[in-house]
Amino acid sequence: MGGRTRTAKALAQRIDLNYFKRPHPFRRWKLGLSIAVPAAALLWLAGIAAGGSRAPYSSGPASSAHQVFGDKCERCHVTQARAFRAHVTDNMCVSCHDAPQHKSNQTFTPACASCHLEHRGAIRLATTSNRECEQCHLDLKTTTGRRTVAQVVGSFEDGHPEFAALRPAADASAKAVDRAVLKFNHEIHMKPGLRVPAGTAPLECSTCHEQMLPAATLGRTRAREMPVPVTYAKNCASCHRLYFDPLIDAVVPHDAPEKVHAVVVRMLREFITANPGQIGKPDPVRGRIPVNFPEPMQRVRNAAEWVDARTATVERLLWSKTCAECHTISAAFPRVVSTNMRSGWMPHARFDHQAHQMASCVSCHAAQTSRDTADVLMPSIATCQQCHKPTRGAESRCFECHEYHDWKTAKPAKPGFDLQQLTN
């Protein structure tokens, strides 16, 4: 009874030599799927295209401002005549938006889309990269040769010069100075126990420096930037009353010398008319006058002379003592030299005090130790860099403080769409 003969010849004879010509399930599946799967992908795109949408080809979700367009790519991507490309041109941007020029003497104007990157999701389009600014400001050149900012400005953390207000002038000492012509001692005013009309309540920064100006008063870009300017009437008058004569319980206005003079004369006339017995009496004011007072005492014989003499005396005290407490009085007596107070310290940048209200004022402004008006109390760039650097999370790119477009020259935009076009 025979067993198995498993020789090479026997095995070879078992092979069907035409096996590769016949279809095999695995190969059939492989071929079928290799056709079906790409075809399904194409069908998917064709189905979406049949619905008039080109959304699949978007490189990402549009910014929140442009999401109103939905998947109507052609709102911005317009094909030029006989051209294949449908890139967004600047013309399409300015059909809805105004984009004022940066500077009239700039040598190069970048395309809108080179700074404002779309299809990156719900980010602010204004969050441009430093690179766009640095392409000019790393070595600034202008068509006129004139510059209003430093020639080399790099990133905030590495390459940004010290703030202009803190840079010493070339012809001055090494220290930057505030050139305001006003005598003010921050240290005294911030001392604890300072007497004020209501007692000894300490003065806070906010007692004089009120919160921000309403946006409407500062324009589009400078909203909330600056504290309300300090004025005598609002911030100084409650303590520094402008009394001029102990006989009269009234103050002169904080105004031009000629107006002050008119008020003084009027009040003295009214006083002497009501109190004619005062003529010829010793002048108590003279007792306060220093011994080197240049004018000798004269006898007055009537009300007019009394007013003249009294005016000269009280005004001399007023200009040289009361007014000179804060102001500089020029030699062309009596003229108050302009205070030359600065309305802003960063003409090319913006700062939002409200966004920084979690930090105490004196942690940035060294007011508690400032005795001299010439002290510049602006914080240095190093102070800002403590928080505004990539490793600390606070934004440090150029757009945080600077704006490219000069919105002072903005013009009303011409609407490019009606509501129906936007919503359908």
């Binding site: 025979g2 078992r14 399904a40 992908a41 699949p56 294949f84 766009e132």
Partner: protein, 297 residues
């Protein structure tokens, strides 16, 4: 393909290329300070490089279709497919700035992920399984020949039993065939030494022939231990003159089991290609569409 020392130069070159690409990406993103764009000059460079690698990897299919073309050794193509295909994934990630973008690119990236993962799984299977198959399937045959070989095994087994037990005839009565469930289409027509060979004939018709005719993993003979016991019992029941036939039948059962094992291992060895290849082609088609639309918009 085994991933052995012959891949060393490809692995090193791919590693160096990846390191250079990563360094370039890090330097470019650090200096730009803006969201990465695949449409930027350097982003496009990554995209073109990655797509070129994908195309080269896909050309392996063409190279296999025309093996006689003298365009490099098959092994070189396979190594290039493996390493450049793998390298293309991080390069495309650099191109995209690790963002999956809109719906088309998102679909492409997920397909790419599946293609790469299936490719890695396939490379691992093709590294380990051939050795395992060599050890566990010594009677391996050409995969496509398995049905043909099985048919021959059935004829061979029928012949052995006929030789041992007498002539076997085909039951022509369909009713009889239905009654036996198709398992005993053959019956002994001439009974020689009927009493002695009865256990062999009954075992063959009732158990072994259905197993050889229609292999089923649930069949008792699919278990080798069970088969050993069955054939050992047969030897005790049958005179020694039948033992040669019993051994031959036992060997046929073993070959049958090995063919089943080969089928399973083959499914593992090549099944991943049913995912890898179709998705790769779909990815290439979508990539071409992506290139065209990106140039347009």
């Amino acid at each position: 393909m085994r991933i052995d020392r012959t891949h060393q130069s490809w692995a090193v070159a791919s590693g160096v290329a990846l390191a250079l690409a990563a360094a370039g990406y890090v330097a470019a993103t650090a200096s730009s300070g803006r969201p990465w764009s695949g449409g930027s000059a350097i982003g496009l460079a990554y995209g073109i490089s990655g797509f070129a690698m994908m195309v080269f990897a896909a050309l392996l299919a063409g190279r296999k279709k025309v093996p006689v073309w003298r365009i490099g050794r098959a092994q070189t193509w396979m190594r290039g497919h493996l390493w450049l295909g793998l390298l293309s994934f991080p390069i495309i990630l650099f191109h995209a700035g690790f963002a999956f973008g809109g719906s088309l690119t998102r679909v492409m990236m997920w397909i790419f992920v599946v293609v790469i993962l299936s490719g890695i799984a396939g490379a691992a299977l093709q590294h380990f399984l051939p050795r395992l198959m060599f050890a566990r399937v010594p009677m391996e045959t050409i995969y496509e020949q398995i049905p043909h070989v099985r048919a021959q095994l059935l004829i061979e087994a029928d012949g052995i039993v006929s030789d041992a037990c007498g002539g076997m005839a085909v039951i022509t009565d369909p009713a009889a065939e239905r009654a036996t469930g198709g398992a005993s289409k053959l019956q002994s027509s001439v009974r020689v030494d009927a009493e002695e060979s009865a256990p062999l004939r009954e075992f063959y018709l009732a158990e072994m022939r259905p197993f050889v005719a229609e292999p089923d993993s649930a069949h008792p003979l699919a278990d080798r231990q069970h088969g050993d016991q069955v054939f050992a019992r047969l030897r005790t029941l049958l005179p020694s003159g039948f033992h040669t036939a019993v051994s031959a039948l036992e060997n046929i059962c073993e070959e049958e089991r090995q063919l089943s094992r080969q089928q399973k291992m083959h499914a593992w060895l090549h099944g991943w290609l049913l995912t890898h290849i179709p998705l790769s082609f779909a990815l290439l088609v979508l990539a071409i569409i992506h290139i065209v639309t990106a140039l347009r918009y």
